[in-house]
């Protein structure tokens, strides 16, 4: 076993770091303050390959591994958590289209999505169906060569500002097996949007309610078979969770970097903060947790790359651990900054606000425990989950 990144990964990391430092970090505070969705910079990110990381080459992507992608997302998130998180959703949705779309659909949409000239979003949650996503009620009724979609989705990232959505809607009976997935162009008549939600963080991407009123979606825009939608949605999220965890550790790394600089600079009681043992211990714990979280994320990514049958459980463990650790580290780094950590002149409070939502979305961390326990309590499962 070798825990070092390979030559390619190091080069990807270097490009992502330079891009994050120059194109994200200097603007992240303004994007947050003014709720700007930086489509121009996302297009630049697309030109470097960040919009199609693990999309197969046959669909116009780079065909990289999930592990490669996790390394890249971590670096990007250190520059702007929220914009990077949007890029992870875009990669996830594009991967779903590339994996389950009919060949014509893939040809039509994936190359532009993988280049970032068109952008995608993921549309599962409803006002009445959050953690219990399988209870969703938005319906897709077959009508000749079309499906007619009616209903509403909530909390949809990127909605109203992007081009194509991956929609989960009910085509059959109640429960998970009655759900199908669709590619839906955002321009279809009958789609309307709620206001851009006022959020605690993640302000560089819009979040909206989306209403579907008699929206006619061509039947060949369906992804996979009828009834496969929930499975497709969950497989997308297995990767999405690793990505979101990577966003947390990237943010935590930025917080730790800032905290270290502050500890070595700031003096109280005639000493540097770094000389107080209480803070030394705090700092040691922060870094230890960060390294543990990074290993969990990279392990889960490797499980996905190997198509391990229990990758779902590893993704859930990694997401739970990395997003909790990431948030805690950001809060501790903010604490080390004292009052300055509370000011918007420094990025610490933004790190805290942005990282917070990673514990809530793509499945709350309680739901991660539901998933882990479900796997772990199966007879004979423990040997397998080592």
């Amino acid at each position: 076993m070798d825990f070092t990144l390979n030559e390619d990964q190091l080069a990807f990391q270097q490009t992502a770091r330079a891009f994050a430092r120059n194109e994200f970090a200097p603007h992240a505070a303004r994007w947050d303050r003014e709720c700007i969705f930086p489509k121009d910079v996302i297009a630049k990110a697309g030109a470097l390959g960040f919009c199609g990381l693990y999309i197969p080459e046959s669909a116009g992507g780079l065909g990289l591994t999930r592990l490669d992608a996790a390394v890249v997302f971590e670096e990007l998130a250190a520059g702007c958590t929220s914009t990077t998180a949007y890029l992870t959703i875009h990669n996830m949705a594009t991967w779903m289209i590339a994996t389950w779309g009919a060949p014509d659909l893939v040809r039509q949409w994936c190359p532009t999505l993988a280049q970032g000239t068109k952008l995608a979003w993921y549309c599962l949650t409803e006002p009445g169906a959050g953690s219990d996503a399988a209870s969703l009620r938005t319906s897709a009724r077959r009508d000749g060569r079309n499906y007619i979609v009616d209903g509403a989705k909530a909390f949809i990232s990127g909605a109203g500002a992007t081009d194509v959505l991956v929609l989960m809607a009910r085509t059959g009976d109640a429960g998970a097996n009655g759900i199908s997935a669709f590619l839906v162009p955002a321009e279809l008549p009958g789609i309307s949007y709620g206001k851009n939600e006022h959020k605690m963080g993640w302000n560089s991407q819009p979040t909206r309610v989306v209403n579907f009123d008699n929206v006619r979606v061509p039947a060949d825009y369906r992804l996979g078979e009828e009834g496969d939608g929930f499975k497709i949605a969950m497989q997308g999220l297995d990767g999405g969770r690793v990505n979101i965890g990577a966003c947390s550790i990237g943010t935590a790394q930025a917080a730790i970097n800032a905290a270290q600089a502050h500890m070595l600079e700031r003096r109280q009681f005639g000493k540097k903060l770094a000389e107080f043992q209480a803070l030394q211990f705090k700092f040691a714990d922060m870094l230890t947790e960060l390294v543990a979280a990074r290993l969990m994320i990279r392990l889960a990514a490797s499980k996905l790359d190997a198509a391990a049958h229990n990758a779902t459980a590893f993704s859930a463990m990694a997401k739970r651990f990395a997003t909790d650790a990431g948030f805690r580290i950001c809060v501790e780094a903010q604490q080390i900054f004292g009052g300055y950590g509370y000011l918007k002149d420094h990025p610490l409070e933004r790190f805290v606000r942005d990282a917070r939502v990673h514990q809530i979305l793509e499945g709350t961390n309680e739901i991660m425990r539901v998933i882990i326990a479900r796997e772990a309590l199966k007879d004979g499962a423990l040997d397998d989950l080592q």
């Binding site: 190091l10 270097q14 490009t15």
Partner: protein, 249 residues
């Protein structure tokens, strides 16, 4: 037209360097290393000339231990077509580098050699000039603009008094200044393509060059700590202080 660019592996510009405790140099173990920023500008300029149709081939050259391959891969990921590594563990000083480049020049016969004006580790600012002297070629140093015209090249140079434009006959040596261009980001697909580009390894011996250091470093020290500045209320006070305290006017 063939262009040769020289690229050096140096401590990354974001790293705060520390002087070794025995004052023999700076600590480089376990530090992040990158391509010298002025050399990135050199590579970028070569790529722009190729994209404009003026150049047909870009050869990147680096010298030093085997890890310098990484720097050459970066140059090829940016757009260089192939690379040459002169591999040696010996500490290379500007004269040695210039001699090695001269030897490669004789093999490759490029029309243009582009180098950084200096490397951000030792800040020597000598290699390009020494190479021009050894090869007896015209030089345009500190370039902020490069324009090819027929069998020559016009180089706008940043000098103390402002800008100076020199016309050189090809083949010529150019060293880059900061404002020449903004190097592109390496794209992920190009990182993967770069792995397949040819990288040739040579040694000083195979080139017949004696690289023994000629200079001896006696001592490396931290610069004195900067004293805190003072705020002035207005221009009048500033001028008064420049006159009476700083004594610069």
């Amino acid at each position: 037209m063939k262009i040769l660019v020289a690229v050096k592996r140096v401590v990354d510009f974001n790293v705060k360097v520390r002087v070794k405790s025995d004052n023999s140099g700076v600590e480089t173990a376990n530090l992040k290393m990158s391509m010298n920023p002025f050399d990135e500008i050199a590579v970028e300029e070569a790529i722009k000339l190729k994209e404009a149709g003026s150049a047909t081939e870009i050869v990147a050259v680096s010298m030093g231990p085997a890890v310098c391959q990484e720097t050459l891969r970066s140059a090829m990921a940016m757009g260089a077509d192939r690379a040459i590594l002169v591999q040696t563990e010996v500490e290379l000083q500007p004269l040695a580098v210039a001699k090695l480049l001269h030897a490669i020049l004789k093999k490759e016969n490029p029309q243009l050699v582009i180098l950084g004006k200096q490397a951000i580790d030792d800040d020597s600012n000598q290699t390009g000039q020494m190479l021009a002297a050894l090869a007896n070629l015209p030089q345009g140093t500190f370039a902020s603009k490069v324009k090819l015209s027929g069998d020559g090249v016009e180089v706008t140079r940043e000098i103390d008094g402002g800008l100076e434009t020199v016309a050189l006959k090809l083949p010529a040596i150019i060293t880059t200044d900061l404002r020449l261009n903004t190097p592109r980001y390496v794209t992920l697909p190009n990182i993967m393509k770069a792995k397949k580009k040819p990288l040739e390894t040579m040694t000083p011996e195979s080139l017949g060059v004696d690289v023994k250091p000629r200079l001896k470093t006696l001592k490396v020290q931290e610069p004195p700590k900067r004293k805190p500045g003072a705020k002035v209320a207005d221009v009048k006070e500033l001028v008064a202080k420049l006159r009476s305290e700083a004594k610069v006017i």
